[in-house]
């Protein structure tokens, strides 16, 4: 009898855990800002739930804080608070509309045992997509500075990462205590570490996207431009995998770490 109860309990726990598994997609993630108080185009922001042409704002927006269909120059220039017309829009894939951080001198991880060649690349500080993440997560730019909204927009009260959830997601500008990013991870690094990290060009990523395996490698699935390790090597800001912390895949039994580290 006891035995059966225990089995039942296990079944119950397993099924709860299964249900508790976060669903994939940005809508089910902490990056769904559609009702965030600071999102001017969210349902609780100035936009409201319905279209309001007079204010020129639209409600319930999920993508707006980060992407715009047409990007206006200066709200994405580092630290800028001036708003420019569409005529001067820069090339800023992926249609980035959030104001970028003006910080240029991050302290970066200085490896305990890290490959000096790769480390030299990292010393320059974050580049590429990692800078997009840091435009909220380094804690210097207000969450609601996107599109045409900036410090000079009347009625805008800045909300920094430190004010959200006790600042749990605020990395600050000292990245020495964070996994290195923005460095080249190539076959050479694998050789120099004596296969301590796998060869990214041939080792499988094990990534599942949109329900099916990509059958890709570390290089094709996890490295920006096929070379750089970035925040996005581990995190998918759109929560594609539905893994905790928006990881690109579940880290149960450190599966994510072991994707690259031959330990």
């Amino acid at each position: 009898m006891k035995y059966i109860k225990i089995i039942l309990l296990i079944v119950l726990i397993v099924s709860i855990t299964e249900k508790g598994n976060a669903q994939s997609g940005i809508t089910n993630s902490l990056h769904n800002f559609s009702s965030a108080s600071w999102n001017q185009w969210g349902s609780n922001g100035l936009g409201g739930t319905s279209a309001t042409s007079t204010s020129g704002r639209i409600g319930g927006q999920i993508c707006a804080p980060c992407h715009a269909p047409h990007v206006y120059t200066s709200n994405v220039s580092p630290g800028s608070s001036v708003i420019g017309p569409m005529t001067s829009a820069p090339s800023n894939a992926p249609l980035w509309s959030h104001q970028l951080s003006a910080v240029t001198s991050y302290s970066t991880y200085s490896g305990y045992n890290m490959d000096s060649t790769a480390l030299a690349q990292a010393a320059g500080g974050p580049v590429g997509t990692s800078k997009l993440c840091l435009s909220c997560h380094d804690g210097t730019v207000s969450m609601n500075y996107y599109r045409t909204f900036s410090a000079s927009t009347s009625g805008i009260k800045p909300i920094l990462m430190s004010a959200i959830n006790g600042g749990a997601s605020n990395l600050g500008t000292d990245l020495r205590n964070d996994h290195p990013i923005s460095f080249v991870y190539d076959q050479g690094l694998s050789q120099r570490t004596n296969n301590g990290v796998y060869d990214p060009t041939s080792h499988a990523s094990g990534i599942i996207l949109g329900g099916s395996a990509t059958n890709g490698t570390i290089q094709s699935d996890l490295l920006e431009g096929g070379t750089l390790l970035q925040c996005t090597s581990c995190h998918d800001p759109h929560n594609g995998a539905g893994a905790p912390h928006m990881l690109v895949k579940s880290n149960t039994a450190s599966a994510l770490c072991l994707t690259c580290h031959n330990k």
Binding site: I26, P85, T87, P94, G226
Partner: protein, 230 residues
């Protein structure tokens, strides 16, 4: 493009009685005399469409009469494309209906230029009305404008979905319009391409569809999410 259907949907959603052609009235695309002093014909559609003498040199010609732009553009370069390791994808040179929009919005052709001539001026009284000088925010200039804009004029088909699993299948995904039609039918052109008109219907009423944006103004980002499975 289901022009009439989107009017109907807009009407049903918002519960207002439509005029037979009232959507476009009093919006930026209404060029009647009280709004556009140069349009002496005082018509609503004549700057863009005409029943006769339309520009047959245009591959995409919805009875089109407005002078077509000859400009070349700096384009949006895809970032991650199919996989993170993918090479930046260059999207197509504007064609189809996008070329029609750009014929005013790139600021190189006068708004009041039809079939190569300035419309209805009396001895050049009004001259050319240019987008770039009068309407800066709505100008997508050839040199920079499209680099910062959503890609257009490229084929969005199952092949692309195969490369980027976070796109919905355009042949099977039903749009939020409530008409039970697919993305391909409602949002893509006859060649299966994404165009300006995938997101904008230039005839909508901008009081309810701000900036002519489809699906009730993109409330809840439903326009973006119909194609992007994020």
């Amino acid at each position: 493009m289901k022009f009439k259907k989107s009017i109907l949907v807009g009407t049903i959603l918002l519960g207002i009685t439509p005029l037979s052609f009232g959507q476009i009235a009093n919006t930026a695309h209404d060029f009647t005399l009280s709004r556009a002093h140069w349009n002496l014909a005082n018509e609503m559609c004549n700057v863009c469409h005409a029943p006769h003498n339309t520009d047959v040199s245009q591959a995409h010609n919805p009875l089109w009469i407005h002078t077509t732009t000859q400009a070349n553009y700096t384009l949006y370069t895809g970032y991650t494309f199919s996989t993170k390791g993918g090479v930046g994808q260059q999207y197509g040179t504007p064609d189809g209906s996008s070329k029609l929009c750009l014929s005013c919005h790139d600021g190189t052709v006068a708004i009041n230029s039809v079939n190569g001539a300035v419309l209805d001026t009396i001895g050049g009284k009004f001259g050319s009305v240019m987008m770039g000088t009068t309407h800066l925010n709505s100008t997508i200039s050839p040199t920079t404008g499209l680099a910062g804009s959503h890609p257009i004029s490229f084929v969005y088909d199952q092949n692309l979905v195969g490369k980027d699993p976070l796109l919905n299948n355009p042949l099977t995904t039903i749009t939020p319009s409530g008409n039970g039609v697919t993305i391909a039918k409602e949002l893509l052109d006859a060649n299966g391409k994404v165009q300006c008109t995938s997101c904008h219907d230039p005839h909508l009423n901008t009081t309810t569809n701000w900036k002519y944006v489809r699906y009730n103004n993109n409330v809840g980002s439903q326009l973006c999410l119909v194609c992007h499975n994020k």
